[in-house]
C-alpha cells in the first residue's frame, strides 16, 4: 500500500535520531580541535629525515645523500645536493652528507616510495598533518633543518616500525662489528692494515649500512623526553 | 471614508494603467496583480469582506498564475518585451477608448445619484443562504461551467502527442 515505504523510512530516521543520544555507533562525530584523532601507527603524511640525536640533528642525519629517493620520487619533489666533504656521522665514521635536502610538500603526494627505496632507513613518514603556510611556495618547501627529526620522535610516532628498524640496524652493526673484529684479528695476523670494512660496506645501495663503532647511541628505546617537532621558521 | 476610497482607487488604477502601458509582458502581468490586490482592498473598504477575499484568492492566487504560466510557456527565456503597437492601431484604439470614456464619464457625473445611507454589510451566513437557496441553480451551473472550463483548458493546452518521448 502507498505509504509503507515512506513510513519505514521515517522509522529509520527516527531510530537514528533517538539513537544519536544513547548509542555511540549512531553519533560518530569527533569534534576535532578538542578531540584529536587517534592516528593509526601506519598513518603517513609527509616524509622527514631521521637523525640519531635530538641535540645535533644535522650532524647525525642517517642520510648519506645517495639520491635514490630523489630519483624514485614519482612527482619528483625531492632535491638533494651531495656534500663535497665528509663529516663524521653518529657513529663517528666519515660520511658524505646532504648539503641540501629539500622536499616541496606542495608537490609531495605522500606515497611513501622514498621510504621504501631508502637503503639507510634515513627517511620516514611523518604524522604531522595540521600544516599550513601563508607563503604558497617558500613556506611549503621544507629544507634539511625543517625535515630533520630525531630517532626518538620516530619511535614516538611509529613505535613498532621504529623498533624493528633499530633492531635491524643493531643487528647489522653487530654483524659488521663481528666482521670488523674478525678483520682486525686477521689484520693483527696480517702485516698491513686494510681499509676499514665498514666504510666499504657503506657504499650506497650495496647493503644495509653497518657503521662501525662500539655502541649505537639512539638505537635503544628513547629515554629522554622527545622534543617537539622543530617549529617552522616564519616564511620570508 | 471617501478619502480612503479615493486612495485605494488610485492604488488600483495606477498599476492598471501602468500595466497596459508597459512593454514587458511579465511586468504587465505583475502590475495587474497589484491592481487586483488594490481592488480587493477597495472591496474590503467598501465592506464586501467575503468578496474581497474571494477576489484576491481567485485573481492573485489563480488567474495571475495561469497568466504568468502562459507567458512563460509562450516566450521562455526570452526578453518578454513586446513591440510597440503601430501608430495607426494605437490612434484608432485611443479614439475609441476616449469616446467610451467620455460617454461613461458624462453619464456618471451628470446623473443625479440617490444618496442613501450605506447598506450594512451582509453577514456571511446570509450570503450562504442566498447561494444555497434562490441561487442554487446558478451556483450549480457555475460549478458546471468551471468543470467544463477545466476540462476544456486541459484539452486545449495538452500537447498533441502527450507521450512523445520519455514516459514522463
Amino acid at each position: 500500500m502507498l505509504g509503507k515505504g515512506l513510513l519505514q523510512g521515517l522509522a529509520v530516521t527516527a531510530k537514528n535520531l533517538v539513537g544519536s543520544y544513547h548509542d555511540p555507533a549512531r553519533y560518530v562525530t569527533q569534534e576535532y580541535p578538542e578531540v584529536q584523532p587517534k592516528l593509526p601507527e601506519a598513518y603517513r603524511n609527509f616524509p622527514f629525515l631521521v637523525s640519531e640525536t635530538a641535540d645535533d640533528p644535522m650532524g647525525t642525519l642517517r642520510c648519506v645523500a645517495c639520491q635514490i629517493c630523489e630519483k624514485e620520487c614519482p612527482p619528483q619533489c625531492i632535491y638533494i645536493e651531495k656534500s663535497k666533504d665528509k663529516k663524521p656521522d653518529a657513529t663517528g665514521k666519515a660520511q658524505i652528507y646532504p648539503a641540501v635536502f629539500a622536499i616541496d610538500t606542495a608537490v609531495c603526494m605522500s606515497c611513501q616510495i622514498c621510504v621504501e627505496v631508502c637503503p639507510f632507513d634515513a627517511i620516514k613518514m611523518d604524522q604531522e598533518f595540521a600544516i599550513a603556510a601563508t607563503d604558497r611556495f617558500g613556506g611549503l618547501l621544507l629544507n634539511r633543518e625543517q625535515l630533520a627529526k630525531p630517532n626518538a620522535y620516530y619511535h614516538q610516532i611509529h613505535p613498532t616500525e621504529a623498533a624493528e628498524v633499530d633492531e635491524r640496524l643493531a643487528a647489522e652493526r653487530r654483524a659488521a662489528e663481528e666482521k670488523a673484529r674478525l678483520a682486525a684479528a686477521a689484520k693483527a695476523a696480517a702485516p698491513k692494515p686494510a681499509v676499514p670494512a665498514a666504510a666499504a660496506a657503506a657504499a650506497p645501495g650495496a647493503a644495509r649500512p653497518a657503521p662501525a663503532g662500539s655502541t649505537a647511541p639512539a638505537a635503544s628505546a628513547p629515554v629522554d623526553p622527545v622534543p617537539p617537532p622543530a617549529p617552522r621558521p616564519p616564511s620570508p | 471614508m471617501t478619502l480612503l476610497l479615493a486612495i485605494l482607487a488610485l492604488v488600483c488604477l495606477v498599476p492598471a494603467v501602468a500595466a497596459v502601458l508597459v512593454r514587458n509582458l511579465i511586468h504587465s502581468a505583475l502590475l495587474f496583480v497589484l491592481a487586483w490586490l488594490g481592488l480587493a482592498a477597495f472591496y474590503l473598504a467598501v465592506g464586501a469582506e467575503f468578496i474581497a477575499f474571494a477576489h484576491a484568492l481567485v485573481y492573485v492566487g489563480g488567474v495571475s498564475m495561469v497568466v504568468l504560466f502562459a507567458v512563460l510557456l509562450t516566450r521562455p527565456g526570452r526578453e518578454s518585451a513586446l513591440p510597440a503597437p503601430s501608430a495607426q492601431r494605437a490612434l484608432g484604439g485611443l479614439v475609441a477608448v476616449s469616446l467610451v470614456a467620455s460617454m461613461l464619464g458624462s453619464s456618471i457625473f451628470w446623473t443625479r445619484l440617490p444618496s442613501v445611507e450605506p447598506t450594512p454589510p451582509v453577514p456571511l451566513r446570509r450570503l450562504g443562504e442566498l447561494l444555497a437557496g434562490p441561487y442554487l441553480v446558478a451556483l450549480l451551473l457555475v460549478g458546471l461551467i468551471l468543470t467544463v472550463a477545466l476540462i476544456g483548458g486541459l484539452l486545449l493546452a495538452a500537447p498533441r502527442r502527450p507521450s512523445e518521448g520519455g514516459d514522463a
Binding site: - | L30, A40, F50, F53, V60, G61, L68
Partner: protein
C-alpha cells in the same frame, strides 16, 4: 476588568490563561480610549513579529540540530551553549555579506521579491487564534483571508526566479508556478469539509467547534475523525508543497537547479527568503493546528490548567518537527510526479472527503449504533479511495525481485 476570583470557575478565568490579555490591558490602560485599539493592534503585531521571528531563528537551529542528530552528527554547537547563539551569528553574517545583484537582472523585481514574500508570509498570521481570545484580527471569513494572503507567496518566488535572469532561476520560476497551481487546489479543498462541519469560516469559530471531549477523553478535534484525518493528511501534504519544503522543494532543488530561484541572491535578501520559508511553514502549520488539531484546545479536560497558548505552541512545534523529520527522510519528487500526486491523488481524495465531511455534518445527531455506523462509513470513505487512488498512483512502480547470473 474582572478581578480574578479566588477559585476560577472555568479554565478561561485562570490567571495564566488571561495573562497576555491582562498584560495588554495593563500596557494600554493609561491611553485615551481613541488610541487604545490602535496601540493594541500594534502590540499584537509586535508580539507576532517577535514570537514568530524568534520561532524562525530557533527553527533554523532546531532544523539543523535535528537533521544533524538524524544524520549521526551534532549539528551547530559552537556558537554559545549548545549553539544557541547560532541564529544570531547567522543573522550578522547575512547582514554583513555583500549583496550581489546581477547586472542583467530586473533590478526592481529582484529587490521586491524577498520583501513581498516575507510580508505575505506574515500577514496570514493575523487571523490565527494562538490561544483563547488571542487573535490579532477577528474576521468573519478569516480562513478565506488566510488562503488569499498565502496565495501570492509563490508569485514572489516566480518574481525572484524570473527577475534573476538566470536559467536555473527561470526553471525554478516555472516549477514554482506549476507547483502553486497544483497544490492550491487540494489545500483549499481539504479545508472545505472543515468549514462545512464547523459551520463557520472564521478561525475562532472553527476552534470553538472543536471544543469538548467525547467520553471525556476523545477530543472533538477534526483530525480525530476519519474525514478529518484524511483532510489533515491532504492539507499537510499540500502545506509541505506550498511552503516548498522537501520532498516538494522543487523550485529550490539544490541537486538540480543549484539553488533555483535563490541562485542569484546573497546576503540579507537570501536571509529574507529563508525567513519567509519558515514563516510560511509556521503559518500553514498554525492553520493546520487551527483547522484540524483543535487549535488551542487541550487534549484532555484534566490538562486544561495549562494555558491555551501553550497548547497551541506545543501542537505547532509538533507539526514543525514533522516537517523537519520528513525533510530528513525523503528524496525530492519530479515535477510531473508532483503535479500527478496533486491532480490524481490529493484532489480526488479531497473531493471524496468533501462528500464525507458533508455526510458527517448531516449525520451529526446520530448516536448509538447509528453513531458507530457513521464512523464506519466515514472511515470506509477514507480508506477505500486511499487504497484505490494509491494503487493507481503507484501503478508501474514497486519493489522488484532480482535474478542472479548462472555461473
Amino acid at each position: 476588568m474582572i478581578l480574578a476570583a479566588a477559585a476560577p470557575a472555568s479554565p478561561a478565568d485562570a490567571w495564566l490563561e488571561r495573562a497576555p490579555l491582562l498584560l495588554r490591558d495593563a500596557l494600554t490602560g493609561w491611553l485615551p480610549d481613541a488610541l487604545r485599539p490602535w496601540v493594541a493592534a500594534l502590540l499584537s503585531i509586535a508580539t507576532i513579529l517577535g514570537v514568530f521571528g524568534l520561532l524562525f531563528a530557533y527553527m533554523t537551529l532546531a532544523e539543523r540540530k535535528i537533521l544533524g542528530r538524524i544524520q549521526n552528527r551534532p549539528g551547530p554547537n559552537r556558537t554559545g551553549p549548545f549553539g544557541l547563539l547560532q541564529p544570531f551569528a547567522d543573522a550578522i553574517k547575512a547582514l554583513t555579506k555583500e549583496d550581489i545583484v546581477p547586472r542583467a537582472a530586473d533590478q526592481v523585481l529582484h529587490f521586491l521579491a524577498p520583501v513581498v514574500l516575507v510580508a505575505l508570509s506574515l500577514i496570514g498570521l493575523a487571523v490565527i487564534p494562538f490561544g483563547r481570545n488571542l487573535v490579532a484580527v477577528e474576521l468573519e471569513a478569516s480562513v478565506l483571508y488566510f488562503f488569499a494572503a498565502g496565495a501570492a507567496t509563490e508569485l514572489s518566488i516566480f518574481m525572484a526566479g524570473w527577475a534573476s535572469r538566470n536559467k536555473y532561476s527561470l526553471l525554478a520560476a516555472m516549477r514554482a508556478l506549476a507547483q502553486l497551481i497544483s497544490y492550491e487546489v487540494p489545500l483549499l479543498l481539504s479545508m472545505v469539509p472543515v468549514v462545512v462541519v464547523a459551520g463557520s469560516l472564521s478561525t475562532t469559530g472553527i476552534v470553538a467547534a472543536q471544543g469538548g471531549w467525547a467520553a471525556g477523553v476523545w477530543p472533538h478535534w477534526h483530525a480525530l475523525t476519519p474525514w478529518g484525518f484524511s483532510a489533515f493528511g491532504v492539507f499537510m501534504v499540500a502545506a509541505l508543497a506550498e511552503s516548498n519544503r522537501s520532498p516538494f522543494d522543487l523550485p529550490e532543488a539544490e541537486s538540480e537547479l543549484i539553488a533555483g530561484h535563490l541562485t542569484e541572491y546573497s546576503g540579507f535578501k537570501y536571509a529574507l527568503f529563508f525567513m519567509a520559508e519558515y514563516l510560511g511553514m509556521a503559518a500553514l502549520s498554525a492553520m493546520g493546528v487551527t483547522l484540524f488539531l483543535g487549535g488551542w484546545q487541550a487534549p484532555l479536560a484534566v490538562l486544561e490548567f495549562i494555558p491555551s497558548y501553550v497548547w497551541f505552541g506545543m501542537k505547532l512545534l509538533l507539526l514543525l518537527l514533522g516537517f523537519i523529520w520528513i525533510r530528513a527522510t525523503f528524496p525530492r519528487l519530479r515535477i510531473d510526479q508532483l503535479t500527478r500526486l496533486s491532480w490524481k491523488f490529493l484532489v480526488p481524495l479531497a473531493l471524496v472527503n468533501l462528500v464525507n465531511g458533508g455526510l458527517w455534518a448531516v449525520t451529526s445527531d446520530w448516536t448509538g449504533a447509528a453513531g458507530v455506523a457513521r464512523w464506519v462509513v466515514s472511515a470506509l470513505l477514507v480508506v477505500v479511495p486511499f487504497v484505490v487512488l494509491g494503487r493507481s498512483l503507484t501503478a508501474g512502480y514497486g519493489p522488484r525481485t532480482y535474478r542472479y547470473a548462472s555461473p
